[in-house]
């Protein structure tokens, strides 16, 4: 039979409740849980072998001289001259996003604003999620904090929206639905975030209020 820890015992394991605050009949269970799960943890530092550095650098130097690798790093490095190459590519991929997200907040045209010392553009984000109870925007602009930028449900057709000011540059983002489901923007270009998930991308140009 499957045996589950009492929820109060799990709070003790989480460090959110003191064992002494438990009812007497749960303390033994909590002590057992601590002994089995927490006291047995090996927290000893792990030091890798001294030869690791040399092995990594040998592979790095090998790649540094490979023509394909140099070309890839040149294209993907985020410095100003490279944008001359990347912007037309992003523009070609982001037309749908331009048509959708450049819709301005309330007044009909994209607006620019000063946020601190940096010029910004208001960008409206929308997601169709009729069954969601809450939707939030998380991205590079809010440190991926899913609590920082909630969307508001508009009407009864399942559309959620939020408008925020973004500084010039490329931003990655996604929607957190019901606090647990990561949903990339279905109409924006996306990139692999390096660990199995897709992030949407929006490029903001404050010179003419354009959003790519």
């Amino acid at each position: 039979m499957k045996r589950e820890w009492n929820p109060l015992v799990k709070q003790v394991l989480d460090g959110e409740r003191e064992l002494e605050t438990l009812p007497a009949d749960l303390r033994l269970e909590a002590e057992t849980a601590r002994r089995l799960l927490l006291d047995a943890i090996d927290r000893q530092a792990v030091t890798l072998s001294a030869s690791l550095d040399a092995r990594v650098m040998a592979r790095v130097r090998s790649r540094a001289t490979a023509p394909w690798s140099r070309a890839w790093r040149w294209l993907s490095a985020p410095t100003v001259p490279r944008w001359a190459v990347m912007v037309p590519i992003a523009a070609a991929a982001g037309i749908l996003l331009l048509a959708r997200t450049s819709t301005p907040p309330a007044i009909g045209e994209p607006r620019t604003a000063l946020t601190g010392q940096r010029e910004s553009v208001y960008v409206r984000f929308e997601l169709y999620a009729p069954h969601a109870s809450r939707v939030a925007l998380a991205g590079t602009f809010n440190r991926w904090d899913p609590a920082a930028t909630p969307l508001v449900r508009v009407g009864s057709d399942g559309m959620w929206t939020v408008t925020i000011a973004l500084p010039s540059g490329q931003h990655q983002y996604g929607f957190m639905v019901d606090g647990r489901n990561w949903v990339p923007d279905p109409v924006a270009p996306a990139v692999d975030d390096g660990f199995g998930r897709r992030n949407s991308v929006v490029s903001v140009n404050t010179m003419n209020g354009r959003i790519l």
Partner: protein, 180 residues
Amino acid sequence: MDHSGAPSDGSVVRAVLAGDTDQFSVLVRRYRDRYARYAAHMLGSIDAAEDAVQDAMVRAYTHLGQCREPENFAGWFFLILRNRCFAERRRSRWETGLEGVSEVAAPEQTESELERSEVVKDLQRALLRLTAEQREVFVLKHVEGLAYDEIAARLKTSVAALKMRMHRAYDRLRELLEAP
């Protein structure tokens, strides 16, 4: 540079991108062991952790241009290593035996340390039978000592989702450790 005179991660990343490949060794030295314990617990052995860190470092170099926040190289590198650990789990799906576990556990000397070593190994074996996601949250919270909100920020998920994952892990560990 920071107050110690060492170049910041950001300046090293920019130097490497500008063509000074050897500067990457600064990042290798700085981060080779930072997440080694995480990788060892995720993969079940120090040898596997070393392979993962090595591959993640090379991948970090290859994709360095995608590091949008060079000053946060550490966080970016962690995500690459994490991906590598998950991929390894998907590839092998093995049951790590006692040999692998013993490499993570502390070397024993006295009788009481021997006894503790057995308890440690029992937990290590049980951890390896959790899902990768369950094991990760357990390792980050109880081995690395991160708070739920710190883990949530790092993994781009919610505290509620992490707690649910962790509580299932607690129950699964109980099943495994109390099994006759």
